[in-house]
């Protein structure tokens, strides 16, 4: 019911939204919860286990009951708290966890069966017979379980990730946070003030009080304006800090577009902030806690602080006849506020016999609530007071004040435990728990506005000291003060189910049962009963459950201890955490210079890491990829082919000690390589296994250019930096990646020399493995005579910007010679025919000996030399690189097939090797493969059995040399 006046809502801006298809009216400034209460809606959800009717209990993000779905389709967002979601025109929200409807929920049968569903029910019941688990129990439980539904569609909602840096992060904009921010801001520090609410102020908005002689909300507005005017202050409303991490890093979730009726298309829904703060102040406040008494879960039973907030901030009476049940002075203050706001308070029940007798409503002292009535909403409560027999009184709202629990979570995220304070019956943050973070205000157990303002300012002073700044002399505004009394009452001693965890339906009986059955440690009790494991993560129930457990086990509360506090403090959508990491954001494209030309020729693309490389270049009349690939292989072997090899890693190495560096990282010797020559190099890891291979060319005495494989470019670069910086800082040499700076085109085939000569500005006079700096069509370039195909081959390097033109020109010229471009498939066939290895062979478990390249290992030191000589890394027991030809040349063999001795049992233990690469060789007219076979080099000419259970291949193969084509290398050398 909306009160006639008051509240921080804009009555000039009415709005309407739908809750379960029913229209609800509200005003700007309303949350979904406040508008629902104004309409008199009390039943808003169903509990998780018993599907009990549930109503709005709180006025903040700690809400356990009022979880709703917002938006539809791919934008559907479940488990939004109605107490957080701002109402706007046209908003469409739905209740959760009820079927067929909220009012008539079939699963509510669970409530009738509740005597059977005690703590540990699942563990005890779904044990036998074991075979039933998968087919009966699990599907049943899955259907019943879960809160909210996902849309089942790709989440197209935009989220963002962002960084922020500041001197001081103030978490929470209640009185302590505002005072702290004000002091730090006037000291000139860069301040970020983060507040989960859409409005700054905290309890100052919810309680009827004055600060600095004006209504608290006005003081908040003035302070906010003052802060906003300062250039060194960043106000971040709607931003919940969810984690405190190492070195002053905080995670925060900002609701950016979720509260807007018509957000711009490019506005993110939510943003995950990583805030790096030199100092932080935790002013997260405290949450009021409920009291466990029978029937305390009915819609209409609310926290007194929430009833007070709805009256003062939203001008909503949560009931027509409100009773207040309190154990502390703040509940009494709430009652006074409600009366002042015009709410009908029918009874105040103070559990303390010695509490103040001054009250604006009928008062009972030393009394408790022992039962409630009302199926879908509270109708009456039963009172027990010392003066007479228990009796019922009518009330449709019961405001419960059980004391305050400081929100210590962020102070405990680094595995610190909070400290128990007996005087306020609550845990507070341990000082210094998070380096650089100071707690201030209600989170430290302060109960009055004046104390919170003072504590906030003191915390700011401490933070400014640490920052080396002088705190300004700011007077504290006068505010409400005085002693506060609170006496904990965890559970009323009366028969009936008394709830602790409202979302997960955990009662005092469940906790006692857990203790009785041996789950007496707080971590065990939590998991056995599921207390604290609902979306509210035990905000409303942890301390109560702890107290009941302590009582059941005869321990103290601090002796029982708390469960572990872990981030995130508020639920963070995966979509927000992974913002930017979808599609091309996850795997960006790297495109070689020839990309557009390849696409124009209709080439399909293969992904090689992040690179896109043409697979083959189809021509008219070619039906399958094999037609194109076979033609391209024959073209290279018979005429000339052109291939963009820019994806290979290229590393520029310069300095007087460049040769000595290469001697250290390669198995071979490079310091003796003459200028103008190229050498093949094998690079080992220090553990003796092959890391990568490639060529290095000496362009000048102190200048080499190294190529790596496409896959290992980053790893090799990292390795070279490690060797030059960490192992041999004495070497006068520098390395830098130039992969992006140079485009490199390979031309291979008997006509390659003619083709290459036609694009060079000077004469082409290179022997095999020669290199030269040369003009290429007017651009300074480089030519290397190297071959990855077994034919006479050249690679022409030009500055990356000229790569596309060079590729087009080379292709056009090659076509006049009966050649053309070839793709990755043909490149692979060409290198398999020639026995050249790639990372299919160099898979991290292979040594130089395995590859038959032990002859390339020099006598002097190089990285990996010592470890490669270890026993077991050489010898006949090693699986060695061989070629494989199926007995029937038409039988396709594939990589991954395993090799066995003829006649051997096909079994893991008799496995003698496997195939790493395979293809159809048009040159040989046969399928061929490369693979590793135990003692393979000694078995050339013998037969092995190749078995591939996946492809249903079982064929005898001839073991051959890995070099099928031109073993003498005459074609390559020209």
């Amino acid at each position: 019911m909306r009160l006639d006046s008051g509240g921080l809502i804009d009555r000039t801006r009415p709005l309407g939204f739908a809750f379960d298809m029913v229209g609800v009216r509200g005003y700007a400034g309303d949350t979904v919860a406040s508008a629902l209460l104004a309409k008199g809606v009390r039943l808003v959800g169903r509990s998780f286990k018993y599907h009990r009717p549930r109503g709005i209990m709180t006025a903040g993000p700690e809400e356990p009951n009022a979880l709703i779905e917002v938006r539809e389709g791919s934008q559907r967002t479940p488990n939004v708290r109605a107490t957080v979601q701002e109402a706007f025109d046209g908003l469409d929200v739905r209740s959760q966890n009820a079927w067929p409807s909220l009012g008539f929920d079939l699963m509510a049968v669970n409530d009738v069966l509740a005597p059977f569903f005690g703590a540990g029910f699942y563990y005890k019941t779904f044990m036998w017979p074991p075979a039933w688990w998968e087919r009966v129990y699990e599907p049943l439980i899955r259907r019943a379980a879960g809160l909210g539904r996902l849309s089942g569609q790709h989440d197209e909602g935009r989220c963002e990730k962002a960084w922020a840096f500041c001197d001081l992060l103030v978490i929470g904009a209640g009185p302590a946070g505002l005072a702290a921010a004000l002091a730090a801001a006037h000291a000139g520090a860069d301040v970020i003030l983060a507040e989960q609410d859409f409005r700054l102020g905290g309890r100052l908005l919810a309680d009827r009080q004055e600060v600095a002689g004006m209504p608290a909300a006005e003081w908040v507005a003035a302070t906010q304006a003052e802060l906003a005017a300062l250039p060194n202050v960043r106000l971040m409303p709607r931003t919940a800090v969810f984690g405190a991490y190492d070195d002053g890093v905080f995670g925060a979730l900002e609701r950016v577009g979720l509260h807007l009726a018509d957000p711009p298309a490019d506005l993110p829904r939510e943003c995950v902030w990583r805030i790096v703060a030199r100092q932080a102040i935790l002013a997260a406040g405290a949450l009021e806690r409920p009291v466990a008494f029978p029937g305390n879960d009915r819609p209409g039973v609310m926290l007194a602080s929430a009833v007070r907030a709805y009256a003062n901030r939203w001008a909503v009476a949560a009931g027509r006849a409100v009773a207040v049940f309190t154990t502390c002075d703040s509940g009494r203050a709430a009652a006074e506020d409600l009366v002042a706001a015009g709410v009908n308070v029918v009874q105040v029940i103070d559990a303390r016999a010695d509490a103040s007798a001054i009250c604006s409503a009928p008062l009972l002292r030393g009394a408790v609530v022992t039962a409630t009535r009302g199926r879908r909403g509270l109708r009456a409560i039963r009172l027990r007071d010392p003066g007479g027999p228990e009796r019922w009184i009518e009330a449709d709202c019961l405001a419960v004040a059980g004391g305050w629990t400081p929100t210590v979570h962020l102070a405990c995220h680094r595995n610190n435990r909070p400290l128990w304070r007996e005087d306020i019956a609550a845990f507070v943050p341990a000082p210094g728990a998070v380096p650089g973070m100071t707690a201030a205000g209600a989170v430290n157990g302060h109960a009055t506005t004046a104390a919170c303002l003072a504590d906030g300012q003191a915390a700011a002073r401490a933070a400014l000291d640490a920052l080396g700044r002088r705190a300004p002399d700011l007077a504290l505004p006068p505010a409400e003060d005085g002693p506060r009394s609170a006496r904990p009452l965890w559970a009323v001693d009366a028969p009936g189910r008394a709830w602790l965890d409202f979302a997960n339906d955990v009662t005092t009986k469940d906790v006692r049962l857990a203790a009785a059955e041996g789950y007496a440690s707080v971590e065990h009790m939590k998991r056995y009963t599921t207390q604290g494991m609902a979306p509210d993560q035990g905000r409303n129930s942890n301390l109560g459950a702890l107290a009941v457990l302590a009582q059941a086990t005869g321990q103290t509360i601090p002796g029982t201890g708390t469960t572990t506090y872990r981030p995130p403090f508020v639920p963070v959508p995966i979509a927000a955490l992974g913002a930017g990491g979808r599609g091309k954001g996850f795997a960006p494209e790297r495109l070689p210079a020839s990309h557009a030309a390849s696409l124009a020729r209709g080439a399909p693309m293969l992904e090689a890491g992040l690179w896109y490389r043409p697979a083959w270049f189809p021509r008219p009349g070619e039906a399958t990829w094999r037609d194109s690939c076979d033609r391209e292989v024959a073209m290279v072997r018979g005429a000339v082919g052109v291939c963009d090899v820019s994806t290979l890693g290229k590393i520029d190495i310069q300095g007087p000690d460049a040769g000595r560096l290469l001697d250290l990282v390669y198995t071979g010797t490079f310091s003796t390589l003459p200028v103008g020559r190229v050498r093949y190099g094998l690079m080992l890891r220090e553990d003796g296994f092959v890391m990568d291979d490639g060529t290095s060319a000496r362009l000048a005495p102190d200048h080499f250019v190294m190529t790596t494989t496409t896959a290992a470019a980053g790893q090799v670069m990292r390795h070279l930096e490690f060797v030059t910086q960490g192992l041999r800082p004495d070497l006068d040499v520098r390395v830098i990646s130039v992969t992006e700076q140079w485009a490199q085109m390979a031309a291979a085939g008997p006509l390659a020399r003619r083709l290459v000569a036609s694009v060079l500005d000077g004469p082409l006079d290179l022997g095999f493995m020669g290199c030269a700096a040369v003009g290429v069509m007017g651009v300074p370039g480089r030519v290397f005579r190297i071959s990855f195909s077994g034919e006479e081959g050249y690679e022409i390097a030009v500055p990356a910007g000229r790569g596309a033109a060079l590729f087009r020109d080379l292709c056009a010229r090659a076509e006049t010679l009966g050649g053309g471009p070839y793709g990755l498939e043909a490149l692979n066939v060409l290198r398999i025919e020639k026995g050249f290895v790639t990372h299919a062979e160099i898979n991290g478990r292979v040594t130089a000996f395995d590859l038959g390249l032990q002859g390339m290992c020099k006598a002097g030191d190089f990285i990996g030399k010592a470890a490669a000589a270890r026993p077991g890394l050489t010898g006949p027991a090693r699986e060695q690189l061989v070629g494989l030809c199926p007995a029937d040349p038409a039988t396709a063999i594939g990589a991954g097939a395993h090799l066995f001795a003829p006649g051997a049992r096909i079994h893991r233990e008799t496995d003698e090797g496997h195939v790493t690469s395979a293809c159809y060789s048009p040159t040989l007219g046969s399928h061929i493969g490369l693979g590793f076979l135990r003692d393979g080099r000694a078995r050339v000419g013998q037969e092995v059995r190749l078995v591939d259970h996946l492809r249903k291949v079982d064929v005898p193969c001839l073991v051959t040399s890995p070099v099928f084509h031109d073993p003498e290398g005459g074609r390559m050398r020209g």
Binding site: W163, Y245, D246, D247, G248, V249, R274, V276, R414, P435, E686, D687, R718, E721, F722, Q725, G726, L727, P729, G860, D861, K865, A866, A867, R870
Partner: protein, 89 residues
């Protein structure tokens, strides 16, 4: 986690690639006994407390650095360029 790169200042750990203990800076001589190579390659302490390890500022200045940190408190005592830190104990 913020790593104080000696060249770039404190940067987020996402910019760095982790390698392992700074033992890798003390490569044995080529003719060192097998035990020395075994220790270099495989034997690592697992300290609860102070440790020194190698990070590569891959998304930054490409410096290899030695970070001194505490595995219990997560406190980072400092960082040095690998070439300068290799002789430290």
């Amino acid at each position: 986690m913020r790593i104080p790169c000696p060249l770039c200042g404190p940067r987020d750990r996402r910019e760095f690639t982790y390698m392992g203990a700074d033992d890798f800076l003390r490569r044995p001589a080529a003719d060192a006994p097998a035990e020395a190579w075994d220790a270099y390659l495989h034997l690592r302490d697992n300290p609860a407390g102070a440790t020194r390890d190698l990070w590569f500022h891959e998304a930054g200045c490409q410096a290899w650095i030695v970070v001194s940190r505490d595995t219990v408190t997560h406190e980072i005592a400092g960082a040095a360029l690998a070439g300068e830190g290799r002789d430290a104990t």
